[in-house]
């Protein structure tokens, strides 16, 4: 079984990357290949990286309140290039009702502050296994 490839990205101008780095390290420790984009990414940069790297998952970390603009834009760009099969997940400072709205628009599950990283790892593993058994 090849490793799961995940793009961990910080969209927008928010520079707080402690959470993103904790998640990236946790995913690596769980055996995944994590491509970390760094800070201050535009949705275009994120989608381009996701497509070039042919990742399975895109993880977005946003604490700046701009999630209702930036996350849908990433979804749109992935869809435009035929890659709506990539799982878009993430977290940060996102109120529950916005999470519901984003999930309705096509993201996977979104995670609030204080979620143990093991929960995120399990979520990605389960999603990946379900997808692999579908296409097998």
């Amino acid at each position: 079984m090849r490793p799961i490839r995940v793009l961990v990205a910080k969209p927008g101008l928010d520079g707080h990357d402690r959470g993103a780095k904790v998640v990236a390290a946790a995913l690596r420790d769980a055996g995944m290949e994590v491509i970390y984009t760094g800070l201050h990414q535009t949705p275009e940069m994120i989608a381009t990286a996701a497509i070039q790297e042919d990742v399975d998952v895109v993880g977005l970390s946003i604490l700046s309140g701009a999630h209702m603009t930036l996350i849908p834009r990433v979804l749109e760009l992935l869809r435009a290039d035929g890659r709506e099969d990539i799982l878009v997940t993430g977290g940060g400072i996102i109120p529950r009702e916005d999470m519901d709205a984003l999930e309705a628009r096509g993201t996977g599950r979104l995670f609030g502050p204080g979620t143990p990283t093991s929960e995120l790892v399990d979520y990605i593993h389960d999603w990946f296994e379900a997808r692999e058994s579908q296409t097998a």
Partner: protein
């Protein structure tokens, strides 16, 4: 939704980045369709110049690569970059962060960047990287850059897949002389001492030139020697053999200085790369290297076919298990068992793969 193979190839030939990325994945993982894809792409392979960039962590390779790509783009070339980083031996995972330093070209449609993890393989990695480079080559990039970390057997292998190998060092990267001894002398076509504004940069350049000179004294001026036999890579012996052959068209690796953080020295570096490529063309070494590369590729495919056909075969495995008692008692040796296994496996090995 996974595309049909023909649709993927059609998109690939139409120049779509998403199709390129999927093709790279198929090749990287030897997924279903890998054989057919490589076969389809074969005629298109061979147009790109391949540049290898290696060196210890912290040397600034990614920054140098970014500047090289920027310059190449200004000259009107297109560039595919493969950035290789180590897989953790404990977790099997990897943190691939080289893209971060190439942000200035992140949205350039003439640039493609792919991060690869070593995945714990030694020889296997270089074969995989070479195949990914082939895919980028077939796609149409006229320059391919392969960036790897560290200096070790893996990097030496990967360097052999490139036409020109640049080794980037920094004054602070620990004991530089030790680094120089670890096989770097043999693979480097060009040396770059980065962070030239730091103390010790000039001394390091001196040290490298001295080592090149020392080499000149004992075993002759060593050409950066590529295209050696897959199974017998002994740098010292190779160097001596070359000296004995008195190859008149030798390439002396230049030792250049850069300050990548300020963009300084990159034009001189690219000029040296161009010069090296011309040398390869004129001396016939380019053709020689590419033939060796193709030869190695065949060897890899043979090895993989053998692996798949032989070791995936339940009967072969059962037969081998049955020999273990004889081996334990000493009635048979590993050598006699191996010979017998090969004798029995003729039809299996030559059989057509399903």
């Amino acid at each position: 939704m996974p595309q049909s193979f023909d649709a993927l190839v059609a998109d690939f030939e139409a120049g779509k980045s998403a199709a390129l990325a999927r093709a790279v994945s198929i090749v990287e993982n030897h997924r279903a369709g890998y054989d057919e894809l490589m076969t389809r792409l074969h005629p298109q392979i061979g147009r790109a110049q391949r540049l290898g960039i290696t060196g210890p962590p912290g040397a600034g390779k990614s920054t140098v690569t970014n500047l090289i790509v920027q310059s190449l783009r200004q000259e009107g070339h297109t560039a595919g970059v493969i950035a290789v980083d180590p897989t953790s031996p404990f977790t099997g995972g990897a943190l691939l962060g080289d893209r971060v330093r190439m942000e200035s070209v992140a949205l350039d449609p003439g640039v493609y960047i792919r991060s690869m993890a070593t995945r714990g393989s030694l020889g296997g990695l270089s074969a995989r990287t070479a195949e990914v480079a082939d895919v980028l080559d077939a796609f149409g990039f006229d320059r391919i850059i392969i960036e790897t970390v560290g200096v070790g057997q893996t990097e030496l292998d990967i360097a052999r897949t490139a036409d020109t190998t640049v080794v980037v060092l920094v004054p602070e990267s620990g004991d530089s002389i030790q680094t120089l001894k670890a096989g770097v002398m043999e693979i480097a076509d060009i040396f770059v001492v980065n962070k030239g504004d730091r103390p010790g940069a000039d001394r390091l350049r001196n040290d490298i030139e001295l080592m090149l000179g020392l080499r000149r004294g004992s075993t002759g001026n060593v050409p950066a020697h590529h295209g050696v036999q897959l199974r017998s890579f002994n740098p010292i012996r190779v160097a001596r053999e070359a000296a004995r052959a008195e190859d008149p068209e030798r390439w002396t690796p230049p030792v250049l200085g850069t300050i990548a953080s300020k963009g300084e020295g990159i034009d001189v570096l690219l000029a040296a790369v161009a010069r090296h490529f011309r040398y390869l063309e004129i001396s016939g070494a380019l053709k020689g290297r590419r033939r060796i590369r193709l030869r190695n590729q065949v060897a890899e495919v043979v090895a993989e076919r053998v692996r798949n056909r032989l070791w995936d075969d339940p009967e072969t495995n059962a037969w081998l298990d049955a020999q273990l008692d004889l081996l334990e008692s000493g009635a048979a040796t590993p050598f006699s068992v191996a010979d017998e296994l090969l004798r029995r496996s003729g039809p299996l090995l030559t059989g057509v793969e399903a």
